[in-house]
Amino acid sequence: MKVKEIVDKFDFKVLTAPDRLDVEVSGGYASDLLSDVMANSRPGNIWITLQTHQNIIAVAKLRSLAAIVLVNNRTPDAETLKSAEAEHVPLLSTGDPAFKISGKLYVRLGLKD
């Protein structure tokens, strides 16, 4: 499943890198500890978090993550947006909290780890 299909299905807002949504998603990872994401996420994962600090972009890049989903309508800092555009990392946004959106992706799309 591509990032684009997930965006359409759940009506995510695309905050950055709209030209990078044609990427295959391997699964999902939900965590707000960036050290944990660096250690345990897998390439191609869609990452669900409420952290908006610019370091999330570097972590997504480092782990080759497909996209970042910011929950609870969190607004990223200007630096984070700039960095996401520069690094071509899709930043997505949803009004759902992490538990709910993880459940939706897991059940409705069969996205696992």
Binding site: D32, L33, L34, S35, D36, Q51, N55, A58
Partner: protein, 225 residues
């Protein structure tokens, strides 16, 4: 932990300088300074500020007014009220440990200030900004944010008693000075880790020089003793 108890313990452990860093508050610093008067112990006014990313940063000041100036901004960005059943009471005391009032802010909570703002506020108030217990997973800059953001103007990195300073240096590099500290929350934890400085007096101004290795001031670590 009454102020006199803390000072007595510090004196027994031959500690000359104490940084008093309650979470998001500096209201107990005056009592600590009063309790320290009969002793040769310097009390630095401090605070452990929680950023919105839940990163802990220590601010250390010579002037109480500077610490209270930062506290005012921290309080304005610290939502919530303390729940004494869940988090315990938060007394503000005098040097004898008598309760003057209870702090009703949710001091255990996170401010809405970004890490960069916290560091910048500490520095603009004349303080040293030190990243707390960087070897721990929870509430440390590396745990929460994976690595230290480039260009973040920290003065030093605090290591906890859980890691020997040499191990910490191998792990975290030598770009910033490492300052081991006890992170003491109880009397018996005071002095379980510490940093030795070569200074003219126990002030933040002198420690700043030591961190920058200026005017002969320095951190007295294993190599230099």
């Amino acid at each position: 932990m009454s102020p006199r108890g803390i000072i007595r313990t510090a004196s027994e452990k031959e500690i000359d300088i104490l940084g008093i860093c309650d979470h998001n508050s500096a209201e107990n610093v005056p009592a600590m300074r009063d309790a320290a008067k009969p002793f040769q112990i310097w009390v630095l006014a401090g605070m452990e500020v929680t950023s919105q990313e839940e990163v802990h940063v220590l601010g250390l000041f010579d002037s109480l007014d500077s610490a209270l100036g930062l506290q005012e901004i921290v309080y304005a960005h610290l939502p919530g009220e303390n729940d004494e059943d869940a988090f315990g009471v938060q007394p503000v005391v005098n040097e004898d440990g008598e309760i003057l009032r209870f702090n009703e802010k949710l001091l255990i909570g996170a401010t809405t200030l970004a890490l960069e703002e916290v560091v910048s506020l500490i520095r603009s108030h004349g303080g040293l900004a030190i990243a707390s217990h960087i070897d721990r997973e929870g509430f440390s800059v590396i745990g929460q944010l994976g690595f230290i953001p480039e260009g973040l103007p920290l003065d030093a990195l605090e290591t906890s008693p859980a890691i020997p300073v040499e191990t910490a240096r191998q792990k975290f590099g030598s770009r910033l000075p490492l300052t081991p500290a006890s992170d003491a929350h109880r009397l018996e934890e005071i002095g379980r880790a510490s940093t030795s400085f070569w200074l003219a007096e126990g002030t933040v101004a002198e420690i700043r020089k030591a961190l920058a290795r200026q005017d002969g001031r320095m951190i007295m670590n294993e190599e230099t003793i």
